[in-house]
């Protein structure tokens, strides 16, 4: 799949077309860090090729929360609120990304409010989906007796995988 298709997958065709020449390109080698947990980053990234692992620090070393594949948005929370990255992101292979700086959003809103709204909606959809998955796991952990057996099993598997990693 070419870069245009990946961008369209992540941003929708109209927005991808408009932003295409305004995006910067980033190349990472396997093991390179894209974002560091706790450090602010003004960039919204789209993975074009390769992949990025999402890590948090656990009591026994880094814990892997997920893998972001081509067509995924990355760094959306910091792009929206300007706050620090919620996780560390590390390339799992030679990886190419496209990125848009936070400051570009204000210009987009002034000149093309519809496209700005579409971008924000895409980002919200991504955050809502990731929020749903994470909330369930956290809730079941905090109150295990209240969680169903299926939820507890899924959570144990999740946390086991997280904490067992590395």
């Amino acid at each position: 799949m070419d870069d245009g298709s990946r961008l369209a997958e992540a941003l929708g065709p109209q927005l991808a077309e408009h932003l295409r020449d305004r995006l910067e390109s980033v190349r990472l080698e396997r093991g390179d860090t894209l974002l560091e947990a706790g450090v602010p980053s003004p960039w919204l990234h789209v993975v074009l090729e390769g992949g990025v692992e999402v890590r948090r620090q656990g009591p026994r070393g880094p814990v892997i929360l997920g893998l972001l594949e081509p067509g995924s948005l990355v760094g959306e929370v910091g792009f929206i609120d300007g706050g620090p990255a919620t996780a560390t992101l590390v390339a799992t292979a030679n990886t190419r990304l496209a990125r848009l700086e936070r400051a570009a959003l204000a210009g987009l809103q002034a000149e093309h409010p519809l496209l700005a709204g579409q971008l924000l909606r895409r980002i919200s959809t991504t955050m809502a989906a990731r929020l749903d998955q994470t909330s369930l796991a956290v809730f079941a952990h905090e109150d295990p007796p209240a969680a169903s057996r299926g939820t507890r099993t899924r959570l144990r598997r999740l946390l086991g995988r997280l904490v067992g990693a590395r």
Partner: protein, 154 residues
Amino acid sequence: MIQGHLRRFPRFDGLSDDEIRVLEREMVARPYRPGQTLMRQGDRARGSSASMFLVLEGAVELWVAPKDGPAAKVRVLGPGELIGVIALIRDVRRTATAKIRRKALVATLDRLTLDRLQVDHPGAWARLQQTIAQQLAADFRAVHRRLSDALHET
């Protein structure tokens, strides 16, 4: 009534007078008593019944229940915060129950109106999308803090 509140909330900073007037016209504010419910987890949020809520005054509790388990209070939201945006964005059932904690004034905006704003007032619509994204970012950070605690307890 809504205008004065919107101007005070940091998330609505930078809205033009026109945009504020549009939101004033399209949002419906009503008072609620403690114990009343804005939405219930599992309810369908389709068509015009799908609304998001903006707390203008008071406080609202969010309760989440896992499948087959009792609900637990996960957050208390106050003035300037949005509730119920996930179902509006993803077309899924409500993911939490929202109960009034303290006497509250809450404004609602339904999906049909939001979609109409996109066509009639794209500027105001884009600003609302930004407010929704900021609420989700705040929710995301709250959940991640709890995930972090969970990881360090395991």
